[in-house]
Amino acid sequence: MFSDLTAQKGATLLAPPALEGPVFDRVCPSSYTNCSERFKLGERSFSRQYAHIYATRLLQMRPVLTKRAQQMWGADIPVKKLCEIQMGEQCCIVGTIFKHMDLQPSILREISEEHNLLPQPPRAKYISQSDELILEDELQRIKLEGAIEVQNFVTGSVIAVYGAEKNDGKFMVEEYCRAELPPQSPRRGPHADRFVLLASGLGLGSGNADCLLGLQLLVDMVTGQLGDEGEQSGVARISRVLLAGNLLSQSTQDKDSINKAKYLTKKTQAGSVEAIRMLDEILVQLAASVPVDLMPGEFDPTNYTLPQQPLHQCMFPLSSAYPTLQLVSNPFQADIDGLRFLGTSGQNVSDIYKYSGQEDYIEILESTLRLSHLTPTAPDTLGCYPFYQRDPFILEECPHVYFCGNAPAFQSKRVIGADGQDVLLVAIPEFSSTQTACLVNLRNLECQPISFSAFSAEAEEESEMDISH
């Protein structure tokens, strides 16, 4: 535990100054490789149809699923294409799920004049009782019924189902299986305690100053200014800081200026300009002390579609002077000290949250891992680039730490795969609302949250209540 580590040395600071303050050396990461080349887009052309992604996704995942199916239901079960199945014959089919949801916003319906519909207001969840699952493969589609829970799946997941076709043309599912965890290379973590700090949702530029002190405390702690010697020596073991998206707050995105008259908005700057300046100042403090990986998020100034490209270094004139600042893509994959980290800024998980019945972010994260796909809902409801040669979101190698940013609360879970894979799932909480970040211990794959708090007028009453327990 990080906390235990920090308490090892005695308290020295409630005393008059004696010796020169100690200086601890930050641990150098033994190895760091950024493995996110697959998420880098070169020249972009949007002239292609999005259907190609599904085709290549199915093509890539079919062999994996066939193998899994055979493992589960026997090597001799017939694995057929939809066009080959006979009525009543027990077989296994592999395909992509399409979830038909009535409440799913459809742009065609919205703009269609004959319906005279007002645009649908955004909802938290778009699921309803009448949702249906349909399995599609290269040529055909078939409705699924039976032992398959509709709200557990989202459009775009590739699964294998075992069952038979009924008279009415629907497929009665007896069992289903997902691709499960991909193979994992053995973990070669450090032998001593080393930490990686994960934080997300800094939410700068929101005009809400309450979280700013918490952020300053975080920076002070990581740079070794806060705390006693024990804490500082513990913090010196943080070998890397990873900021997973939403560095800017949503309010920097508001497009009020478009609706306002020009004479009112003439000299105004976009909210994101000041916010980026603040971010640069924070990064300069961090980068001067620890290697930082900066991932863009939903509200950050980069492209909207996944994979989001790294923020441009021209926005960070002060901090890009430091080689310790790495601007990376979303999703992000890297080998840090022998452990494979993979994660996103949370757009994939929050999108699945909207279109499925799962409530927990960590549960959704686990299901994406088991589906072996980072973003099954892309491109249906989550914007993504029209890939056609390969689907870069398919998990080909199982990570050791799998995270998603901007979760409503901190959650972590250890998942053991069928073939012995060991993954730590982390749902990084949003810092602007929870003032919490996470520390991952690279030696034993443990995760501990760190929370920061300051005092305010209301806090006084709160603490009184606690004491009365």
Binding site: S3, V23, E231, V284, V290, S451, F455, E460
Partner: protein, 465 residues
């Protein structure tokens, strides 16, 4: 350690009514953060012992293991003195407690603490981790030379690799697919329209686009920039052409990349055109001019693939513009104005010119080239042939009179076109090669014709007196 710091803190807290945080103190006195914390504690203890005068308030930082909602987390909290004991008792393991700040007033909110630190850090961004307890070996800021080298590599390699695809896509969407360049160049191009420092702007954009070969061109440009600063009327006029060249540069960016020498010579070319007007620079021109015909020939040939009608119109239009008068400097942002008369020029240009037809930059370049050439050829009369659109009437089989517009070649000489005073300078300086001259002539003729058909621009009020 001397106790001067106690007096210092005293002064800050009591006299200046400041909120003294450990970080602010460490940056102000230049001491290690831990020492600053200890100093604050020492001061506090002393003052409390004295118990004289004003009451001081302090905030503490407490951190340790804490159980919240069933999870153990590491908690770091800034608390007021009265809350200190309460929080300490709730912690399972206390990692550190130290004084965070001392101030005279009671703080209701931790906002002022943040502000103090924020101001202190902002002033000392470069030494923010100097007094910290952790040193990171790899966090050494890069030197500016290294940064600029990295930037060049970053911009040089993607454009070079994308240049091929980009050029092929040029006709498709007319925009550079590579992310950086259009964003930077187009605003510059549009703003450059209204800047008198058009030459330097072009210098900037071309620098971004091209690879290191242009460093030579930059040097050349630097030397050329001196005469350009002379700012005569003609130089402004040519400056405008330079900006026009800047504007279409996003489109030509990739194309330009292909030929480094051509493009690097092209940028001196843009500079050079400023020179012809200033007579003193005449000497430099002949040498550089030699490059220009090569570049204009080479560059436009490769721009063949980006032929579009719009571009053609644009080109002939701007060509028109240039030849008409330099007073029409601010006539229009680079929009192709479909003029029916413009069509005449394009198809039947001599082959050398044909290649150069499509895009504005070649045309702009060519014009510049023409300009310099005019200076060189100054006064020499040439007899040339050119193709002119003429209406030919003839009798059909059925006895109908048919009128056709046909290009016919016709010979002409310099002295024939002498219609506008403002163009005289240009006229007298005809390019050495026939092709360019033809263009010039035609544009002049056309512009004469167009004067009648085009809308009178507001610049008509500012004719030469």
């Amino acid at each position: 350690m001397d106790d001067l710091y106690l007096e210092n803190i005293d002064e800050f807290v009591n006299d200046q009514n400041k909120i003294v945080t450990y970080k602010w103190l460490s940056l102000t006195l230049g001491v290690h953060v831990n020492q600053a914390k200890q100093m604050l504690y020492h001061y506090l203890e002393q003052k409390r012992k004295e118990s004289s005068g004003t009451r001081l308030h302090a905030t503490y930082l407490v951190s340790g293991k804490f159980t919240q909602n069933g999870n153990t987390c590491h908690k770091v909290a800034v608390v007021r003195e009265d809350q200190l004991e309460g929080l300490k008792s709730k912690m399972i393991v206390t990692a550190s407690i130290h004084v965070y700040s001392i101030q005279k007033v009671v703080l209701k909110d931790s906002g002022p603490l943040f502000n103090t630190d924020y101001d202190a850090i902002k002033e000392n961004l470069n030494i923010c981790s100097k007094y910290s307890a952790i040193r990171c070996a790899s966090a050494v800021p890069r030197s500016s030379a290294e940064i600029s080298r990295l930037q060049e590599i970053a911009q040089g390699t993607p454009p070079a690799s994308e240049g091929q695809q980009a050029a092929s896509k040029l006709s498709m969407n007319g925009h550079s697919p590579s992310a950086l360049k259009p964003a930077t160049q187009q605003p510059k191009g549009i703003m450059g329209m209204f800047a008198s420092k058009a030459a330097s702007k072009h210098h900037e954009t071309s620098k971004e686009v091209k690879t290191e070969a242009k460093e030579d061109s930059v040097a050349a440009e630097a030397s050329n920039s001196k005469p350009t600063s002379k700012g005569s009327a003609m130089s402004n006029f040519f400056g405008k052409t330079a900006t026009r060249k800047t504007k279409p540069s996003p489109q030509t960016a990739e194309v330009v990349i292909k030929e480094e020498e051509a493009s690097s010579a092209a940028s001196p070319a843009s500079k050079e055109e400023d020179e012809p007007s200033s007579s003193s620079a005449a000497k430099q021109v002949p040498a550089i001019k030699e490059e220009k015909p090569k570049t204009s020939e080479a560059a436009p040939k490769k721009r063949k693939d980006s032929k579009t009608k719009a571009k053609r119109l644009e080109r002939s239009d701007s060509e028109d513009d240039k030849s008409e008068s330099q007073q029409k400097k601010r006539r229009r942002i680079k929009k192709p104005q479909p003029d029916s008369s413009d069509d005449e020029i394009i198809p039947d240009s001599p082959p050398a010119r044909d290649v150069k037809t499509p895009s504005p930059p070649p045309e702009a370049e060519v014009k510049k080239e023409r300009a310099t050439h005019t200076e060189d050829a100054g006064g020499i009369k040439r007899r040339k042939r050119r193709k002119v659109l003429k209406s030919k009437t003839s009798l059909d089989d059925e006895g109908c009179i048919v009128t056709e517009k046909v290009y016919e070649s016709e010979s002409y000489s310099d002295s024939e076109d002498d219609f506008v005073k403002s163009n005289k300078q240009q006229l007298s300086k005809q390019p050495a090669t026939g092709g360019k001259k033809v263009e010039d002539k035609k544009s002049q003729k056309k512009s004469a014709a167009n004067k009648g058909t085009k809308q009178a621009s507001i610049m008509g009020f500012f004719q030469k007196k």
